[in-house]
Amino acid sequence: MKTFFKNKQAVTIAVMISIVAIILTSTICIQVKSVEEYKKADIESLRDEELKAQMSLYKTRYEEAQKQYEDNQNKIKEYKDTENENEKAANLIEKELEETKVLLGLTEVKGEGIVVTLKDTDMATYWAKDIRNLMNELKYAGAEAISINGNRIINMTDIVEIAEGYILIYGNTRIKSPYTIKAIGDTTYLTSTLNMKNTGFVDVMESNGLDVTVEQSKNITIEPYTKGEIESKYMKEDEQK
């Protein structure tokens, strides 16, 4: 040992290596800590995504309501302008009535959107639940009009099955594979929602061995609801305000 310490060079090198070893060890420790911090920050950014999505939704809803409000104010003005002009008033009322029919689904509508095709195969059949989930997802993605094999989906439309592969719409109209679902809305948003990795309709169906294709279109025509008057036997307007 004494000879070792007498050799200056050896000592210098030994000291240097020790210092380097210490630095390396502390670096590794800090590195591990950083990864921990990174994970925490990752969770915070997940909340970020949620918050951003929430804000974007409020913004969209706000803008829709704002537009409706402005439309209303215009209509109010137009009605007020029609004092003693019955024909003008009659036209305004007809126009408003037509608008409510469009929203109810009683008219043919056109617009951009997507066409989703679902096919039964020998390996796997579509259940009513799958189609219901698709409806939910399309609505989440802002679909404003939807039809399945020419049947318009309105608010109280139900989709059930009474046996495998025997699916009914409105409780009385059978639909069979292939199911052609048309939806009018923001094409990009509709497509990206359905194609969301792992959780989107396409991935979920395909992971169950089911056949699904999504096509975009600039010009979709969706059929009107043709099953008669919409029932309102049990509900009445609440006159108490």
Binding site: V35, E44, M55, K110
Partner: protein, 238 residues
């Protein structure tokens, strides 16, 4: 001397690599503190938009009332206009844009209570999921429901029910357990969702939620949809 120089050289190289790696990792991470700060800002923004949204829906409600008044007034002198004005009112009710009353059923669906200390509980079994609500709403529609709401969120044509973290989002609004589902329609038919083999009955066996209660009622009031039904992608024929 050569051996030592090479040794030092290698050590320096390794050290440099270690430091570089460290710097790169740090560059890729905003500290948690910064993230939390940005988070707070975003939270404030969300609250702001929520307030704006509440304000505009109130204004919209008032303007809908006024519109109905002037429309009714303008239609008094013409039978067709009077009829059409009534039809508009009815259609708005069908669209879910008015408060309604009637007989039907009320369903209470609540998350389950976790009893005692169990190590390997799957908390998911105790929760009401968006899929449960979708199925219940579907059965109600099949049973002829004319109006449905969940925690006062009216089900309209564009309504979606999705999972939003720990809560459920309906019409873009967050709702949580307990879920009060109201449906107006033929009470006996609606009550049928409680049948053996029906979804609600199955829930009692397949999950650990509080067993859902279904009650018939002669006087249910369901609130309107607060907002505008969008139609900006439906091309207007001029």
């Amino acid at each position: 001397m050569e051996k030592e120089k090479i040794l030092i050289g290698i050590v320096c190289l390794v050290l440099t690599l270690a430091i570089t790696l460290q710097l790169r990792t740090m560059a890729g991470t905003d500290s948690t503190v910064t993230k939390a700060f940005v988070n707070d800002e975003l939270r404030d923004k969300v609250l702001q938009w929520e307030e704006r949204y509440e304000a505009i829906t109130k204004a919209l409600e008032k303007s809908n009332e006024e519109l109905e008044k002037v429309r009714t007034a303008s239609s008094q002198n013409d039978t067709t206009s009077k009829e059409n004005s009534e039809k508009i009112k009815k259609n708005k009710m069908l669209l879910g844009l008015t408060d309604v009353v009637g007989e039907g059923v009320v369903i209470t669906a609540e998350d389950g209570q976790v009893n005692g200390m169990t190590d390997n509980i799957n908390i998911s079994q105790y929760l009401i999921h968006d899929t449960d609500l979708i199925e219940i709403v579907s059965e109600l529609k099949n049973a002829g429901a004319e109006a449905i709401s969940i925690n006062d969120q009216r089900i309209v044509n564009m309504t979606s029910i999705t999972c939003a973290g720990n809560v459920i989002s309906i019409n873009g609004q967050k709702v949580s357990s307990p879920f009060i589902i109201k449906a107006i329609g033929h009470p006996e038919m609606l009550y049928g969702i409680n049948r053996p083999g029906g979804y609600i009955n199955n829930m009692k066996y397949t999950s650990k939620v509080t067993p859902p209660k279904v009650t018939k009622s002669t006087n249910i009031s369901i609130k309107k949809f607060n907002g505008a039904i969008s139609s900006k992608y439906l091309l207007k024929e001029e």
